[in-house]
């Protein structure tokens, strides 16, 4: 569990009045940190669909070429699966046959961005867990006429449907994508959910206000941990937007579970590797 998630859960406990919610929050914290000092235990057996986000500085040179990233991503996921660190989750979507290695077409997913201002490479590993992905993903291609009201209605309806009975493992980080083309819209919603740290606000003041307003609103719904009731209904709401075609208004919703696992390996210009909880994923 990343430090920002830990800090947010600790804050939520102090505000929580619901008895069952308090029990579950306290137990989760105790379990994540007191019983798991080395951080080597699986708090949730769903180790997700493998996803990497890689940020590369202009002057970074990779032995074997930049495309080695794809081979190394595949090798690392296969190794971790064979060593019992990752559960073999990935199957053929039609035959449902498990590949046994977590590899397959487009798996692991590797998203690469370049940054002229850094002299290092960040490799962010994010396991995309099944519950929040399958129950917490929505897309709607709206008409420009639907505007802000349509966006708001869409977001609120998604929250209700996805958090019911704890389907997405709330309190979630909710990622919203507005605009772009269909694929960009979903991509930025996903990145908003899984990459931006808790408490991070969009640089656009109006969007930042909307994020905070939604956090306050969802907290008042009474969803609680795993949807069992309480004030701890959301970790954060992150909204990203992209320039979009004049003809449409695409909106996407993607939720991340309350464990919100992500880990960053920063490979410095001296070859030294340091580990951290998040990378500044600025790509706007």
């Amino acid at each position: 569990m990343p430090a920002d998630v830990k800090a947010k859960l600790s804050e939520l406990i102090t505000k929580e009045d619901n008895e069952v919610a308090r029990l579950n929050l306290e137990l989760t914290m105790k379990n994540c940190f007191d019983f798991n000092e080395k951080g080597d235990q699986l708090l949730c057996p769903d180790t997700g669909a493998p996803q990497y986000y890689v940020k590369i500085g202009d002057n970074v040179r990779i032995e074997g070429g930049i495309s080695t990233l794809y081979e190394e991503s595949k090798r690392s996921i296969k190794d971790a699966t064979m060593n019992g660190k990752l559960r073999p989750n990935m199957v053929d979507p039609i035959t449902r046959k498990n590949t046994g290695t977590n590899l397959g077409y487009y798996s692991p997913q590797v998203e690469v961005i370049f940054d002229p201002n850094i002299d290092y490479m960040d490799v962010v590993a994010v396991p995309i867990s099944g519950g929040s992905e399958t129950s917490g993903t929505f897309f709607r291609m709206m008409s420009p006429v639907d505007g802000k009201k349509g966006i708001m209605r869409f977001i609120l309806d998604c929250i209700k449907s996805s958090t019911y009975a704890g389907k997405t493992c709330p309190p979630n980080v909710i990622g919203i994508g507005i605009g772009g083309t269909a694929d960009t819209c979903m991509k930025i919603a996903k990145q908003a959910a899984v990459l931006r740290p808790i408490g991070n606000r969009h640089p656009d003041k109006h969007i930042a206000e909307m994020e905070q307003e939604l956090v306050d609103l969802v907290s008042s719904f009474g969803i609680g941990p795993m949807g069992m009731g309480g004030s701890s209904g959301v970790l954060d709401v992150h909204i990203e937007y992209a320039a979009t075609h004049v003809a449409g208004l695409p909106v996407a919703y993607n939720a991340q579970c309350w464990l919100s696992r992500r880990k960053v390996a920063r490979i410095g210009s001296d070859g030294e590797i340091t580990y951290r909880d998040f990378s500044e994923w600025e790509y706007r």
């Binding site: 008895e19 137990l27 235990q41 708001m152 009975a165 389907k167 969803i223």
Partner: protein, 214 residues
């Protein structure tokens, strides 16, 4: 919120005394299953040789098992979403005499009705306790159909001790904790719709079929 530690097999009486929001810890033998076990049990009457009368707690398996030398161990154990097995809930409860289903999310009206009639509850975890639950498995007693169905769909028989905590989210009196929460969320949402002027909002219809009522 009442905390109870119960020994398997569970009696009908003690199950009927459980209420939603009660916290339950279990001792004894449980078995795991997912969809394939349930489909085969209900549609083909194929079940592993288990004494279901004395082993009446079913666990919707989502876990990682590991073989250490000649023994199986649970690495991390959490129950998976139950609603996707709704179609098989009522028949499986009646057929196997299940007194408690350990799962996630919820089950639908038909299963709730069967739970009321037969005396059965649904239990869910509310905290991230995959490692604790794995540690509370004293022993992996048996595994059936591992080769054929793989580790997630195989039937594992586990001896558990102080296994929990689980929250009763459907009791045997027709109550569903999530429906209570949902009713409150719906009330709050109505107020939010009102506030943003989107109570009766309908998205712009772009269907050009003249008969669509657009």
């Amino acid at each position: 919120m009442i905390t109870k530690r119960l020994t398997i097999p569970l009696s009908e009486k003690e199950v009927r005394q459980l209420s939603i929001e009660d916290v339950v810890y279990l001792d004894g033998l449980i078995y795991t299953c997912r969809s394939l076990f349930q489909i085969r049990a209900v549609e083909q009457s194929i079940v592993p040789p288990i004494d279901f009368k004395n082993m009446n707690v079913m666990f919707h398996m989502g876990g990682v098992m590991k073989k250490v030398e000649n023994r199986w161990e649970a690495v991390s154990l959490i129950s998976t979403s139950s609603i996707r097995f709704e179609k098989l809930g009522a028949p499986i409860i009646k057929k196997l005499g299940v007194r408690a289903i350990i799962g996630k999310s919820t089950m639908g009206g038909k299963t709730m009705q069967a739970m009321k009639e037969a005396g059965c509850v649904h239990l869910s975890w509310g905290a991230l306790i995959g490692n604790i639950l794995a540690r509370n498995v004293e022993r992996v007693v048996d595994v059936y159909d591992l080769e054929e169905l793989g580790p997630l769909e195989a039937t594992w028989v586990l001896k558990v001790k102080n296994f929990g905590p689980f929250i009763v989210d459907i009791d045997a009196n027709g109550n569903n904790l999530f429906n209570h929460v949902n009713a409150q969320v719906s009330r709050e949402l109505e107020a939010a719709y009102e506030k943003y002027g989107i109570k009766d909002y309908t998205y712009t219809c772009t269907d050009t079929d003249i008969d669509s009522g657009c």
